[in-house]
């Protein structure tokens, strides 16, 4: 119980402290608060993981929270990404539209919402957290000095506010049908109502996450946001997918589970080629990553559908979720540095070489090449999909589906190798907009850590399979 409270209060208190310090006119405290708050949150989440590993699960009904080892691991991953994003931000030295104290408070608030969302067990509270997350995310998008940022942020606000209404509708249906908004405990009530609620949750959280066909805001938001915010959003996606799983679980005990599973598999299977094919034509790094991310959401949806039908595959889904978030964070950090180098007047070849190496390790891990962490995540994914489809569709359809998935994995390889070549060989002229000199060592922490994680987790994949 104390560990849960500590895990939730660490980012919240740091966020409040940041606002108070900035109001008190203290200068130079932004970076210590940002990095310190994120480090404190990581420490608290590690304590939570340790406690959950010892006790099996922790329940705090007063906070509407329930944590198993896999949830705690997701919280640790989200906190690691936030810490890497904060160090990366410190290294970047780029000022945005928002005052420093407000920006730090919003950054840590997003971490708080993500952690709470990953642990919460109440559908109504989940809706509230989704709504709070919208406000914070929109403000972080508008922090960028990009010309299109206000328009993109407002459109993002509208789409995600509408998606929150869909989540509210779903939460209300669950509450009215079962008499309780608890989504972890046993649920009774009307099966049709729970299936209807599940559709509302898929639409609502689907628009927040941004998978096909609810993705329209994703490329613009990636392109208009700062690279730090894009890295931080990887932590948010872990929480949103976990929330989606929790909200769908009451419907997984109804007779509509096969329909729900098929819907998720169809959405996932359409997201993958859509994202990969559109990523291929992109010349702008962040747009390329946006479409690449959409296709990764496709794999997650596909596996989520399988895991809802056969819960034995749930650890594979959680492993894929954590691994893809870490690798995308690493790739986004590398590309963010590459985008900013023009404003710094180029980069030394040694740093460029290191950056390109980190990028290619994260990219290959994300694509599922051995001996990197993504290999095990993809291997478990293919095994789960194969065994699930074999029972339902027969050998020919299953093999054709797996072969199609494997062939599609080759499509992004071309665009990612192009980016790698660009990072390694192309130097740039100093742009008109000069920036402060970056802290290169701090900048390299996120790429190096994620690349290191890809290698380490490739050798010890059981770390991502707690319990």
């Amino acid at each position: 119980m104390e560990e849960l409270a500590l895990c939730l209060s660490a980012p919240l208190v740091s966020s409040a402290a940041s606002l108070l310090l900035s109001r008190a006119g203290k200068r130079g405290v932004q970076w210590p608060t940002l990095v310190g708050g994120s480090a404190l949150s990581l420490l608290a989440s590690l304590l939570l993981f340790s406690a959950v590993s010892r006790h099996g699960a922790l329940d705090a009904p007063e906070l509407y929270v329930y944590a198993e080892a896999a949830d705690a691991l997701a919280v640790v991953a989200a906190s690691i990404i936030a810490l890497l994003a904060s160090i990366y931000e410190w290294g970047m030295c780029i000022e945005g539209r928002l005052p420093a104290g407000v920006y730090t408070a919003l950054f840590l608030s997003l971490l708080f919402c993500s952690i709470y969302m990953a642990l919460v067990r109440d559908a109504v509270l989940l809706f509230i957290l989704v709504e709070a997350l919208i406000g914070v995310s929109v403000a972080l998008v508008v922090h960028s000095r990009d010309r299109a940022a206000p328009e993109v942020a407002f459109r993002y606000l509208v789409i995600t506010a509408l998606s929150a209404l869909s989540v509210l509708l779903g939460a209300s249906v669950v509450t009215l049908a079962t008499g309780s908004s608890d989504v972890v405990g046993p649920s009774g009530g009307g099966e049709e109502a729970l299936a209807l609620a599940a559709i509302c949750f898929i639409i609502g959280l689907g628009a927040d996450i941004g998978f096909f066909p609810l993705h329209s805001w994703v490329p613009d938001a990636f392109s208009a946001s700062t690279s730090t915010v894009n890295v931080l959003f990887c932590a948010e996606h872990i929480a949103l997918f976990l929330a989606l799983y929790k909200l769908l679980s009451p419907a997984s005990h109804t007779r509509y589970v096969s329909w729900l599973t098929m819907l998720l598999i169809a959405l996932g299977a359409s997201s993958i080629p859509f994202g990969y094919l559109l990523a291929y034509g992109q010349r702008e790094y962040m747009r390329l990553m946006a479409y690449y991310t959409i296709s990764d959401y496709g794999y997650l949806l596909l596996l989520l559908g399988v895991a809802l039908g056969e819960p034995a595959h749930l650890p594979a889904w959680r492993m894929y979720l954590v691994n893809s978030a870490l690798m995308e964070a690493g790739m986004l950090a590398c590309l963010g540095i590459a985008l900013a180098r023009e404003k710094w007047g180029g980069m030394p070849f040694r740093a460029r070489r290191m950056l390109a190496l980190c990028f290619v390790i994260c990219a290959l891990s994300s694509l599922g090449l051995p001996p990197l962490s993504g290999f095990y995540a993809k291997l478990l994914l293919y095994k789960a999909v194969y065994s699930f489809l074999l029972k339902r569709t027969g050998l020919i359809v299953t093999v054709a589906f797996i072969v199609a998935l494997l062939s599609l994995s080759l499509v992004p390889l071309a665009s990612l190798i192009r980016v790698f070549h660009d990072l390694l060989t192309r130097d740039v002229e100093k742009g008109s907009e000069a920036l402060k000199t970056p802290r290169v060592a701090a900048l390299m922490v996120a790429p190096l850590t994620t690349a290191g994680a890809a290698l380490l987790l490739g050798l010890q994949p059981q770390i991502l399979l707690p319990g």
Partner: protein, 195 residues
């Protein structure tokens, strides 16, 4: 039950009027009336429940019918909105939704009748979001839709209802700040003029 039906119907009519109102300040006034209609109903129902829940409901009512409209009024006064005629398709769609609402009210579905009624009521202001290029109308539409779904939270603890209003307030604050700063930067009252 009759009171809830009367209140929801009144709120639906107010949102229908708001959809066809051109002047942004009047649209905000419609939001105040809409929030009061739904908020007072919630407060009335709360009187029959635990006494400790009433302060939360009153605070929630204050946020949705005073604080949020005040923010949106500041936005409406801060930007020179372009008054545009409501598109014909919006009128047709809103009248169709009103007919659907009336049908659900007269013949409610056996299961989840309340949800169907609130969803139909919430669909009307969403037309302002779908057709609006003016940030005030878009934000008012989102707030009205959210208010229309709020009675569905009557089974949840009142604290969660209050938290929901607070998070909606946060989204509004961000929306207003984004719209005001974009208007100052680009000089256009329309969302598509901000890039």
């Amino acid at each position: 039950m009759v009171l809830a039906l009367v209140s929801t119907s009144l709120a639906t009519l107010i949102s229908l009027v708001a959809v066809h109102t051109l002047e942004p300040r009047r649209v905000v006034l419609a939001l105040v009336l809409h929030s009061l209609t739904i908020g007072l109903l919630e407060a009335y129902y709360c009187l029959g429940k635990e006494a400790g829940e009433l302060p939360y409901v009153v605070l929630s009512l204050l946020i949705s019918s005073v604080v949020v409209p005040y923010l949106l009024l500041r936005l409406a006064l801060g930007i020179t909105s372009a008054e545009e005629r409501t598109p014909g398709w919006v009128t047709v769609a809103s009248l169709s939704l009103l007919c659907l609402y009336a049908y659900i009210a007269v013949c409610p579905p056996a299961e989840l009748g309340k949800v169907a009624l609130c969803a139909a009521s919430a669909a009307v202001p969403l037309l302002m979001v779908a057709s609006g290029r003016d940030p005030v109308r878009v934000l008012v539409g989102i707030n009205m839709a959210s208010n229309s779904l709020h009675p569905l939270l009557s089974e949840a603890p009142a604290l969660l209802s209050l938290l929901s209003s607070v998070s909606m307030l946060l989204a509004n604050v961000i929306g207003v700040l984004v719209a005001l700063s974009a208007y100052r930067e680009y000089g256009s009252p329309l969302i598509e003029g901000w890039a």
